[in-house]
Amino acid sequence: MSVQNYYLPESLGEALELLARYGPDLLVIAGGTVAMPLINEGVSTPVQVMGLRRTGLDEMARSNGNVKIGATTTLTRLLEESPVPLLRTAARNTAAWTIRNMGTVGGNLFSPPPAGDVAVALLALDAEVTLTGSGGERVVPLARFWTGFMTNVMQADELVTAITLPVPTGKTAYIKYGRKQAHTPAVVTVAAHLVVEGGRVQQARLALGAVGPHPLRCPQAEAVLTGSELSEDAITEAAQTAAGECDPFTDAIASEWYRRKMVPVYVARALRQIAQEEAAS
């Protein structure tokens, strides 16, 4: 193991100072559930590591129709205390209790696919990411946060400090499809948020996990849904459209071919859940 120093700053200011001092040579972790296995196996060899768990960035607050989640809020707390049911479901479908006790909401944005099951839900909920650096704060929509596999728009001196999202006004659905019932990487994860008024979809948000270099939104499928009556035909068309918007990969869990086949199946199942709820309400 290569780590020589592990810093545990007691405040955001202290953390930003350390980041400014070491720049890209400093590996930032929160729960460490993604980084530490790589370090322990010698895949990743950082010399300086900073843990954020004492920086007090774990507030979860609701105000003005928004929910603000501190970056180091654990997945267990999200599961138990989130005011947004979709996020509780997403947290419950992420890893196991031991990992959820350590892993954080902010850290989930850095979990390489097929991991990152909470990030998929955040993406469907129009979440924004607060980035704090030496020059102050800026806010980036989560949909524009990632730029590729394990790459993003952050500057070297910035930290993710919070994730903010509007409390969903429509109906949501979340399905993680894995090879087993629990504790398993996804074949595909689907999160959907639809606002339906007067029998028509006013606003559609559809996000996919485990089928691209990072969690993906499906703008074309969303466009198919918007204005539709959420009929079986619209659902089928949206599902097929989403299949064309993903960029899956092969791993020990599933092949690229299979993942692409499962996208329309599970998008349709998620959308049908919402359609059924709409019909019942």
Binding site: Y177, H183, D251, A252, W257
Partner: protein, 759 residues
Amino acid sequence: MSRGFSTIGVGHPRIDAIEKVTGKARYAADFSLPGMLYGKIKRSPHAHARVLSIDAEKALALEGVKAVLTPWDVPRVLHTGAPAPRLGSLRADQLVLTDVARFVGDGVAAVAATTEEIAEAALDLIEVQYEILPAVFTVEEARRPGAPLIHGTEGNLVMPPIIVQAGDVEAGFAEADLVLEATYHTGRPSHCYMEPNACLCYFDESGTLTIWASTQCAFMVRGILSEVLGLPLHKVRVVVKHMGGGFGAKQDLYQHEFVCALLARRTGRPVKMVYSRKEVFMATKTRHPVSITLKQGVKRDGTITARQALYVSNTGGYASHGPGITAVGTIDMTSLYRCNENWRLEGRSVYTNAPIAGAFRGYGAVQSFFALDVQMDELAEMVGMNPLDFRLKNAVGEGDPSPSGHRLRADALAACLRRGAEEVRWHERWQPPEVKTGRVRWGLGIGTEMHSSGAYPDIKEQSNAILKMNEDGTVQLLTGAADLGTGAHTVLAQIAAEELGMPLANIRVVSGDTDMVPFDIGAYASRTTYVAGSAVQRAAAELRQRLLALAGEKLGCEATTLEIRDGEIRRQGQVLLSVAELVRGEGGRPAVALMAQATYEAKVAYSFAAHFAEVEVDTETGMVRVTKVVAVHEIGKAINPLGVEGQIEGGIQQGIGHSLTEDLVLDPETGAPLNAGFVDYKMPLAPDMPEIRVIILEEAPDPDSPFGAKGVGEDPIMAIGPAIANAVYNATGVRFRELPITPDKLLARLREQGETDTA
């Protein structure tokens, strides 16, 4: 003897349950000694490469590093990883540290340092120059002309082919109305025991090596260490405390056991080594991937007329149990279903540069019975018979030959099939696949197995037991049989208690120290209850006779008029005195030393099972869910029914994993495992488990075994695989001749079959 039992036949919680669940039980890695160093192995990143040179200078310069070993610093003794005394078919092809890496993870150097972290850092500083050699990972590649020879053997064969034949196969096929030939493939599951391989080694002032190890075969570890290190047997002491599983993989020695002892010898300090989970996955053992080309002829009335098979196992970089599992897998195809005693079976084991395959619960027979029982389903359909009736017509029974050469003593397999069929209401509920419709389809399938308790005649089975009576009426039971987490020690204590007429609480099992306990060949082959249990029963019977003789003397009556029950000496039901009173010292004199020893060399008994699996297949995704399993096992007598149920449920869980989700996937270019960790090597967990109904039959007790008991350890994993594959066929009409059945593959097959693209 028809008296009721007091201790056996009743479910007892394990005698070591409390210490285990409270975390107090100590496993090999829990032991430490003052001044202890930590050892690590430098592993080859290449699947096939010659080590040209090793520069350890930088590693040795690192503060805290105490020793580095290279292939040229260790005894160059070719050895087998597998049990002593040897089978002729085992191959001595391993070195302590190798100068030719034969799979990704083969150990080429080792280091000892004051901390684990320093040892790991030192590994990175050891510079190894390799000449990369061409590598092959599949049997097809390895058998191709011009393929690299991994151990210099012709065609990469581990040993000459095993040929088993009887009758006249060609005449049998000529007599058949229909002949089917097909090839069946099984996957590469990993054992996934909870406790990683670990050991602690230390040489005392007399030059005696003590090794705390996690092994199923302590005396085998002693034997091979003695041979490779050049130490006499009385200067090697192997201590095994609790074990967290083995499933067959801990029948072998690994590089760490030799390296750890050599590092301890080199540094003069105790050395501990613990494998990481990744090392366990890449550098211990897997099950052998096997391909079986099976041809059978059948008459229209359902009579099987002949059987021909070619069984080819991929043993990876070293032979390990390749010859053994291939022999068992080949000869076991003479069993289970009759074929007019016309068979021609051939078994081959092939070296490749894949991870080493070794012994694994079901030892070669899992693969054979998968092929056999799936083909039984296919043949039933060809002749238009119900798969249950077709099996009942052909199931082996009394008088039929068994792989051991003995004739079977009962119609136990048919009894299992009938009892299971009744339980699942087979004739009412089973329907052919053609009538199944809808997105989610239900299917019902059968798998069967039979398995010997012990490995006789391939291995000359032997167990011993010593019972020592204490002056307060308690007993030490000394056994060399390991309890690798199966509950075997509880069973041995129950057998001793029952035979002695003492309460179970009065028996303490002492095991796992080769300096103290008598020889035992090891815990494998579903043999512990049958073979070690027989030794215990015989020793206990002798001790009981001696107690009764002493009591007769003391009471002035014939010993034959007395019996012991519940720790009391009785005559015609009347309590005369307690065993504690009988054996305590009197008049200032110590008690009489009462001990008994027994040796048992087993022949063979067969256990049988039929599993009925119910599945639901989502035809839109190819996902298979096992929803219920009815498991009927004929095991003679359940000494501890609670333990038997645990074994069966555990075997089914493991078998569901091997059938659906578990497979160590290799990178086709490099041969490195792609899922060497529990993140993406997926075993089924509690939510994945179906309802399991275990039915224990005790209709065919074995006359030579303790109270009629036969083995159960391996049996449950052998029937579940074909049961699932046959149930998937029943649900969907898709015939899988391979494991695992992944949703990927099933969906592709459903699409080929013309299921519509519903989404």
